[in-house]
Assembly symmetry: C2
Homo-oligomer: 421 residues x 2
């Protein structure tokens, strides 16, 4: 059975590689037209997609899945429309392919340019959110990459219905059905089989909870764009404007607690702890946030629980925050580089030199000065859309948009030059 799955995946990979080569040469307007037609097909098929989703939700409810899972799984009419309009937005983005990233001429007359080209084939492994099907396929198509999608078993019927609509749209623009393929089984062995396709898949994007991502990291021989967790910090410096700090910290923690850019640990400069710690902690408590702190934070209010070493390493993804007093910006940087996940960190300060030290020395994909960590998002960065956020240092870091789904090649134009020596 597992051999059969591997054979199926190998064949999908082989077809994706060939389709990717064709897609790389497909003109901008045809790729954009395919996206628009897919958006239209999703609107046309909205009822069928909603019906498939109802079946998924019924099955998930019967299995006793959590309310949060059911919510992620559920496609409302607004969410279906949002998939369609998302594809249209991707169609309006400027073409990431063919961009001349650098261009120079050598003394011998050779002209060298570094030109953006697709990565080739992208694999996306995701869980319960069925909308990832459309979002990921759209970003890959825009960037000239073939893709292989593998959704979670609980959203399989929904994803299949969305895929059917996408396929119709893409086919109307004359694209090969091999350009966007979906793994046709919910068998878990298919994930392992997909991770072995290093000849055919150039990069894997795992989208889901920590256990899914950890499994992919463990098993994959294919490069990944991923983050395991977003253990983000906000540091309130001695030179912070307290009112700004209160506003930003509350937003960074509480706007949405379940996203990877939510602040999980608040660090406060010892120099201003006597004045700043209490209002910041009391704001969070008043907003319904559980606070776990060091001795200083506990002294603010009896509701503050003691934090242990484990709290500094925990991504709560919930209305819980850990709070610690540190010795200035160096103490904050040291805590962040030691305990953090290299995702997103913010400093609140009016002191430019201190801010620059923090921005330089935090070894994270995104560092912010006087702004909420919840801005860690491709849309908020103006990238139009993102396929995920990477904490890796190789190739893509931070939000991964259509430009990051490209690599480059060197194109050298000469007039018969030979190399001397």
């Amino acid at each position: 059975m597992s051999d059969e799955i591997q054979a199926t995946l190998n064949e999908m990979g082989r077809r994706a590689r060939a389709a990717g080569r064709t897609l790389a040469q497909t003109p901008t307007d045809r790729r954009n037209r395919a996206l628009s037609l897919a958006a239209a097909a999703i609107r046309t098929d909205a009822a069928a997609i909603a019906e498939a989703n109802r079946e998924d939700v019924t099955a998930a409810t019967a299995k006793g899945l959590s309310a949060a899972m059911i919510d992620r799984l559920t496609l409302t009419p607004a969410r279906i429309e949002s998939m369609a309009s998302g594809l249209e937005v991707i169609a309006t983005l400027s073409d990431p392919l063919g961009r001349v990233l650098a261009d120079w001429t050598r003394p011998n007359g050779l002209n060298i340019s570094r030109v953006a080209v697709p990565l080739g084939v992208i694999g996306i492994i995701y869980e319960s959110r069925p909308n990832v099907t459309a979002d990921a396929a759209g970003l890959c198509l825009k960037s000239g990459n073939a893709c292989i999608l593998r959704g979670g078993s609980e959203s399989f019927r929904s994803a299949r219905a969305i895929m059917a609509a996408l396929t119709k749209g893409f086919a109307s623009a004359g694209l090969s059905p091999d350009a966007v393929q979906m793994v046709p089984t919910t068998d878990r062995a298919a994930v392992g089989a997909m991770l072995r396709l290093s000849d055919y898949i150039d990069v894997i994007v795992p989208r889901g909870g920590k256990s899914l991502v950890a499994r992919v990291v463990e098993e994959s021989r294919i490069p990944l764009f991923h983050h395991l967790e977003g253990l983000c910090h906000t540091y309130v410096d001695a030179a912070a404007d307290l009112e700004m700090a209160r506003k930003v910290v509350l937003n960074a923690k509480m706007r949405r607690t379940g996203i990877c850019g939510a602040t999980e640990t608040l660090l406060i400069d010892r120099a201003v702890a006597p004045t700043h710690l209490a209002p910041l902690v009391l704001d969070l408590l008043a907003a319904g946030c559980e606070v776990r702190g060091d001795a200083a934070a506990q002294a603010v209010d009896p509701r503050v629980a003691p934090a242990d070493e484990n709290d500094w390493r925990t991504e709560y993804l919930d209305a819980i925050i850990s709070v610690k007093v540190v010795d200035g910006v160096d103490g904050a940087i040291d805590h962040i580089n030691t305990h953090g996940s290299h995702h997103t960190e913010a400093i609140i300060t009016e002191n430019t030199a201190t801010a620059e030290t923090f921005l330089n020395c935090c070894d994270s994909a995104i560092v912010l000065w006087n702004a909420s960590t919840q801005f860690a998002d491709g849309g908020e960065f103006g990238m139009g859309a993102e396929i995920g956020i990477s904490t890796g240092k190789m190739h893509a870091r931070g939000p991964v948009g259509v430009e990051q789904l490209c690599t480059f090649k060197y194109v050298v134009r000469g007039s018969g030059q030979t190399r001397p020596g």
Copy 2:
């Protein structure tokens, strides 16, 4: 014993990570001064380096190593001087760190910039060429990366003597000895131990023969900048200038046959085979090149041996070439994408449209029009120096110079922005 080696490597990794964080913040002029002082130290220590090298060469000769290996191992006074001047050249390159790769401001006033920062820690695994010690250490230092070097056993004494000189130079500029470290044993288990340091090493660069690189590819859980082979092609199109083609093909194959940019397969458009095949093949034969060809090539001269399927997949690294007639540019692209190693390919043609098709459709790191494949080299590209050439698509592709030894971070500057909704 292997546990002890792993413990040693872990400790080296831990120190390298810390040293890398410091080096990332070390000003340009101090990094450049360290390079100049290391160059001076190599000159001062030239006699000691030469003596250590003599011991390596004596041992290698006694072991019966090939003449080519002995040549790669031998350090002449000119080669020692070349290491020193190479470090000085790296010192003159512009600083790759802190470059603002992109910068934009969002409607909400957030300023976002993408800034070049070091990758962190680079591991270099190499074989008999002792000069890699200085070249690699210099490129890593320039780009703010700590490095861990692991040379081959046959060049161990030479590499250790070079390393001693480098260490003195770097220390004179006040750099930590942990910034550039060398694995202190020739035990092969150290390579495996190094490849397990994924917490401490960000990228591994294997430099050496195919068997070394293949072993590293097989075992490494750390990303690599590498190429397994350079199976480069030159395609002579129907619209080629025959004189240019003769000159370029001869250079592409014969200038140096042992480098990765040497052409291994010559493809000729069927439309001009009757006129172009014979002069091209006869030139190669006259230059002492062994020619293995398809039926058409064999018909040119009795010295042309038959090529089999294996020849289209062989990187000879020698004065041997395979020759094949193909059906125009599409046939050439198809052959190259099927049999090639995605390294470097050239087309000779006077037809712009045909050239652009070739440049677009060959899925290789470097594609050239009317120039020799032997230009596949960081120095020839004007990058100053390279740590290697990558056929991977992730992060670095083609020559890997100091800019490719960098990653980036997003720096976001605000004035108290919080994310709505």
